[in-house]
Subunit: 217 residues, 4 copies
Amino acid sequence: MPEPRSAATNAATEDPKRQKILDAALAVFCERTFAGCNVPSIAERAGVATGTIYRYFPSKEALLNELYRTWKGELRRRLVDDGLRLDPGDDARAVFDHWWTALTGFVCDEPQAFEFLELHHHEPYLDDDSHGEALAIDAAALAFVEAGQQVGALRADQAPAVLIALVYGALAGLFRAHRLYGELVGTDAYDQAADAVWDMVRNGTTPDPTPDPKDER
Amino acid sequence: MPEPRSAATNAATEDPKRQKILDAALAVFCERTFAGCNVPSIAERAGVATGTIYRYFPSKEALLNELYRTWKGELRRRLVDDGLRLDPGDDARAVFDHWWTALTGFVCDEPQAFEFLELHHHEPYLDDDSHGEALAIDAAALAFVEAGQQVGALRADQAPAVLIALVYGALAGLFRAHRLYGELVGTDAYDQAADAVWDMVRNGTTPDPTPDPKDER
Amino acid sequence: MPEPRSAATNAATEDPKRQKILDAALAVFCERTFAGCNVPSIAERAGVATGTIYRYFPSKEALLNELYRTWKGELRRRLVDDGLRLDPGDDARAVFDHWWTALTGFVCDEPQAFEFLELHHHEPYLDDDSHGEALAIDAAALAFVEAGQQVGALRADQAPAVLIALVYGALAGLFRAHRLYGELVGTDAYDQAADAVWDMVRNGTTPDPTPDPKDER
Amino acid sequence: MPEPRSAATNAATEDPKRQKILDAALAVFCERTFAGCNVPSIAERAGVATGTIYRYFPSKEALLNELYRTWKGELRRRLVDDGLRLDPGDDARAVFDHWWTALTGFVCDEPQAFEFLELHHHEPYLDDDSHGEALAIDAAALAFVEAGQQVGALRADQAPAVLIALVYGALAGLFRAHRLYGELVGTDAYDQAADAVWDMVRNGTTPDPTPDPKDER
DNA sequence: TATGAATGAGCGTTCATTCAT
DNA sequence: AATGAATGAACGCTCATTCAT
């Protein structure tokens, strides 16, 4: 069982200088995107010489992929590995809450990492390992949603992939609003939004009480 | 009902070669992002020589901004200008449907444009006009949501900006899933998702009947 | 005997549009130098389309050379051809005055042409014809100066080429000062300077009356 | 007497690679002018890669200005700073000799630098520092000439600026002849020409004995 | 091991020249 | 004959990467 400590505790990441470079790259990639920044700016942010970067990473692209793999992996760990500890008898809302908490926990603990992932998920520079990490999350989420639908806890009028996309998208939207309009959308908004997002995916929301509520049941 | 003619019908965009360059740039920016592509690749896609680009646009950056302004403007037109035609007496769900239809209509009619906007909303290269177009949409959406909350149609336990972020984010999530897993998430998913998204923002969803889990079934 | 009318009256230069291009090029070359300007700027100044320039001149370089040849030729005409009309019995100061007047006349009548010649005499783009025109002037001047030295009118302590260089250089210096500090150095300065320049080249200036003036005689 | 060490002994110019680039640029600017040459040709001449130029100078234009400022400054040093060491009691010819020697010394020691200055004094790319250096020389020369005129040593029938222009122009003319017809005009011509140039500016040349042409012989 | 100067391919952009109209 | 849009080689400059120190 993996240790749930920070992503920095990867096997490969014991070297503190290596970590400083990764942190600096994360920050710079967020500010200017992968293609929009240059390697010396990462080195400067890390407090090392440009050449030093190439002692730890074979290329700028490899740095991107390591970062992507690491943080997408950390997200997966929070979502999936901890998810396995859930009691199968837990009710649906508890399962949802677990997922939402894991998601928002990641976003609040590592906002830069989340922004980085959002910003670079479509880069043609990502390698198969990076994509694999993303797919692993999707697969786990899919299984949970399908189970939730089968027990009637989650609405069945949407494909599982759609529900996942809606939830993840809603979180990403919240995050973006938080970044842009920090004053209007505080970090507590993530918790408060749980109810609304749950209403989107749960089964049994009362339909619009338009003509005859009985028909709807 | 919005006219489905393309945003290309702008006054400034009658010149077909200019339009070919804009279309090519849209495609290339989507595939490789602004900073990740080079001008000759846009020229090649447009079927013109590199120098020709500069007869129509003063710089690569100007091309990005024209594209951003044009398409964000088209989205605003669909959302806001047509929105004004709504009868103020329309009920909340009808207003929501209008917005959702306008949003998904744009996404389905111009998927590349939507992807481009999603991909470049954070670029430091965007000028004031481009940002202004984005702010105009936000302002209009905010007004609608506040009105909806005041008449009790939209849930009041979330800040207006949060509701907007959740809805827009859900759509963007859907779109991304559609791009990645086209087979699982068809284009009809946009319409079907309307109910789920509406449940997220409307007022009056039955609270979870926590006391008695049996009802949940 | 050539007609002393303006240089524009060359055989090849009857076409007024051709002349407009030459005039525009002269102005633009003066302002920004040959290598520092572009062809469209010449066309704009001439009031023609860019392509039209190439109906009259095979290349930008050919335009430079035609201009150089034409104006250096005009200068030669003023200096040499008119010089032949001088009565061989004229005294030396009259000969000098003739040359100085021809030189300053050219500078005052065609300041832009003179500036152009000064600015481009060293260009590697000049062809043999252009250089030939320059050499023709030098040769004629050389003959006059040698004659002047032999009859004792011009100082013999300097090589003929040196005297020519000093006079021409003094004029060019005057011209440059006139351009830069127009207020301090008016156009009448050219005439006034004749005495000073003549004192530089004539024979028989009293040497410094240092010890014994008698010795000097 | 000025120290004949090169201007390269500037504080900012200790770095030998930087100096190699400056030297190469000087040579290439002389051969092809600023606008007529490209940066790779300078790099090749300096024996470095193109990119290396930009480690030492922010732009091609900055290279031009550094060169102009440096060499115009060196000329000023030779003319003005050493000029202050003159004994105020020195007679006018001695003052003139000092200036002429300083001028010709610079031309003979640094012919390329002089040619560069002559070739680029009119560039629109020169910055304020560069122009300032040129103005400093003019101002110093002006003061000396005005003083010379007031004590009656220099001719008063010409404006001070005119006398300066004539002398500097004569030197430049000599230099140009030396470059073009090296065989006819040797480097010793600079010294020999001092008498002639002095006769141009000093007071008290015998006026032409016009009354009796016989004396002229 | 760490540095940062050096490299040169590749970038965004310009411009002499061409050619369909 | 004249136009000016189009071309693409060449420009000034940047930057991922290398390597002598």
